[in-house]
Symmetry: D2
Subunit: 287 residues, 4 copies
């Protein structure tokens, strides 16, 4: 994190000789100061990935012109998938919760401390449990109940809210409903979930009980992009914690919360800082 305003360029393209030279030559040609840079060549697929932070004040133009010049001089010749973001523009993160507080408290503490330098335009929940807590923080709260009969309408309503508040990212902070395929596709690459197992083990319901039954010695949590296939999207971050034979499923639930919130916070940060580039069903994460 830099105190100065900066632009973050993240991109991928087919690999070839001279990519770094072309990109860095373009930036240096305009006097741009590179604060941080990461490059990765995926040997098996011959695809090239990069992420650069460039000090905004070192460039002689504004963001729109930067994007336009980069497009014509670099991105199009190299057939890039790319984006340039401005650190001065806070990302807008819509948080979804159900009845468990650990991830919600954790995210709001990070937001309060400006550790996550985001805006939270609203919180959406299928229960009314946290209305008071969320509103106390000055954040609008939407109660959108979901049941067998109203799923379609509920998810349409959630998407409408997301669009209305111009959300950039939707975070499922232990939101205990499975989103509709429509919503997953409409917001592809923008929805982040925390699953309470070390995927691919124990996808689906009650993963701690599954872990208990199998007798594993570590339990985990996985932060991933949501796709229409349950718990199968590209993995952003994972971690584990040690348990033993004396731990009941309830103990695991308790221990698990500590890694769930940490893994979610790390994965979300990587995403918000444009450190995650999706590559098929996998991710490149430039930490």
């Amino acid at each position: 994190m830099h105190s100065d305003r900066f632009y973050t360029l993240s991109a991928s393209c087919p690999d070839q000789v001279g990519i770094i030279a072309r990109v860095s030559g373009f930036i240096a040609g305009h006097g741009g100061w590179i604060l941080e840079s990461s490059f990765h060549s995926d040997a098996l697929t011959s695809r090239y990935f990069m992420r650069l932070e460039i000090k905004a004040s070192s460039l002689p133009f504004l963001l729109a012109e930067f994007r336009e010049l980069f497009r014509s001089e670099v991105a199009e010749p190299l057939s890039m998938t790319w984006q340039i973001n401005d650190s001065a523009v806070k990302k807008r993160v819509v948080v979804l919760v159900s009845k468990q507080e650990h991830c919600l408290y954790d995210l709001l503490a990070r937001w309060q401390a400006k550790e996550l330098d985001i805006e939270i335009p609203c919180v959406i929940s299928n229960h009314d449990t946290f209305r008071g807590f969320v509103e106390w923080h000055g954040i609008p709260f939407h109660h959108v109940p979901v049941n067998a009969d109203n799923k379609k309408g509920a998810y349409a309503e959630m998407q409408r809210i997301f669009d209305d508040v111009r959300g950039d990212t939707m975070v499922l902070a232990r939101y205990m409903q499975i989103l509709s395929p429509d919503l997953c596709e409409a917001l592809a690459g923008k929805i982040i979930n925390i699953h309470h197992s070390f995927l691919p083990s124990f996808a689906g319901a009650k993963p701690y009980h599954q872990a208990y039954t199998r007798g594993v010695k570590l339990i985990g949590a996985t932060c991933h992009y949501v796709t229409s296939e349950l718990d199968a999207g590209p993995i952003i971050e994972q971690d584990v914690i040690r348990i033993d034979h004396s731990d009941s499923p309830e103990d695991m639930v308790r221990y698990g919360k500590d890694i769930e919130k940490t893994v979610l916070a790390r994965g979300l940060r990587y995403h918000l800082e444009d450190r995650v580039l999706v590559h098929g069903n996998k991710t490149v994460v430039f930490r």
Copy 2:
């Protein structure tokens, strides 16, 4: 954690043949059902430590009589230091904070979720920052400013509040003042601090900056009992997190928060569940 009410017996005594037999024989003799038991013999000092959870309803007497019988039949003959606590009596934890929110939010989330099954009779702070947040949770908030001129009075006031609310434990949740020796002694074994380094490295001020200067590859946090010697009391729990050359002291502060709150919560839980037995300047922790 058991759903049934239980008594927790924790004790230490000089080692000799037959301690377990004597303790467990006493309990079994009264029909007591042992839910959990841990024993440790310290070979170097020949001292014996134990902790047992006994199902309350399996015993034919109430707590006072249990204590009295245990004292005369077991504890005194074995020269024990001991206590028996009742899971139905919630411990009363007074939380001290300054201006950083991560530990406070974390503790309140655990309290809300009953993961920490305690009472928080009040929060004390040398700043007024978190009054609203704390009071929203229905917890009284005391602003006790501390400065060079009023230290003696301030610490006396804090001890008075602690006594008034019948506190069992005082938690320094990133409280940024050094308590007076008087207070440390008056509440010996009852004050828990989280220090933001892997002690004994980097005691004192600005440990992350010290870590940055030394170029270590992991940073840590330490939960310990407070004694009058700064950051030198018995260690309850520690953990670390990996960093690298690209991390500034500010990055370390941010990463460090995640282990600070986790290590504090684990250490506090061990303490509240009578899992920690102090042994000189060390601890036996029956996890």
Copy 3:
């Protein structure tokens, strides 16, 4: 680990009031000094597990009489499954390898340093690669080739060797053949394998390639008892190591070796010290 000779009692039985009292009372009644003790009650199945180390010289009888008295006075009345072992009798561990050296070197280094206080009566391999290395250490080496045509004979030969050398435990130190169901059953609870994934993820062949394809952020290793179902036996120990997008399957193979040998060594030690009690398809591990 104690320098004095000791007996290790490990047992399980249906849970009831007074088990610890009965066991420890029996030991104390004969003047037995308990060096270490662990107890566990499995609430869901109402089964009780224990492990005790008793100083040999504190008892007034030899091992055979100890066993006989324990059987009649404690084990049978409590319907125990139990064993008592003598620290002076070294366990005999037969090591199986193929062509990878990391686990073999690691085990022999621990054996040389007496960190693993065992006898290795022989090493068996389906390749002749390590004959010189093993024999240099004064350990007999048996080359038992395994191919599609001779599997039955090969596994019979391996079992014959194991019986001939009076093996207690068979360790698959990255042995790359699947043992026959007959052998698995004949030596049930005596064969320990190290699988190069964090089970239940990525059972079977080429787990690192499976991990690469799924894009996980940690890879692991699992030490487990071998049963006739591939990679599905009771888990003794597991651990993981962090990887990222820049790691190829070959990198993972290399990183993985470090946890494979460590996890195998830990699991083997627990087993040899009678710290592992099998419970259905799970384990109680008294570390």
Copy 4:
């Protein structure tokens, strides 16, 4: 690790606009294919660090000419400290041991498996313990006793051997003597040690006993460059392992071995692959 031959360029220089462009432009201008690249700007000292792997066959010249052109066109204009190494030239690593086998076995297993693609021209020891084991591997063994009277001669002899075999790196694989300041200076940046604590805690003798006395809950190991100040050189890699109250100093010694050998192997690999750039008393490690 790449299967193709490559050159590794590692360099640092004062920070300024256009460094990456200049370096990558030079390489691309000669058709060079960059396999891997890492850059780091140290904000506090305004120094810039980089490491690149370039496919050898993509360049139209040999190593000597590459170095000459790079020097004149890039390194000198940018005031670089730099080196270019050839993956086809194996580094020559001289291993020093005393009487503990764990690091020696571990290094030789990695060397046998070509996981460490190095030459080991000889092993030097102050004891004759491992002569047979080392010579069985076809590696010359030098017994250079060190005692109070002959230190000066002994260290001169060790330096002479190192020079004779054209050593690149000297590894203290739990070598239990303190090298002379002369030797440390003569081979500055070339001697790697593994210290059995998480430095800066517990420098000097018997760190596990120091850890036991302080009652820490994790113990560690540190791989660092040797300087004339004991255990105070730039840290390359560190790791920790959890212990508890039941672990004696001897248990810690045993647990510690597992992290010592792993941390040493990681640190040595980073060094050999030119991933470590020393920066004052710290290191930049491009993993």
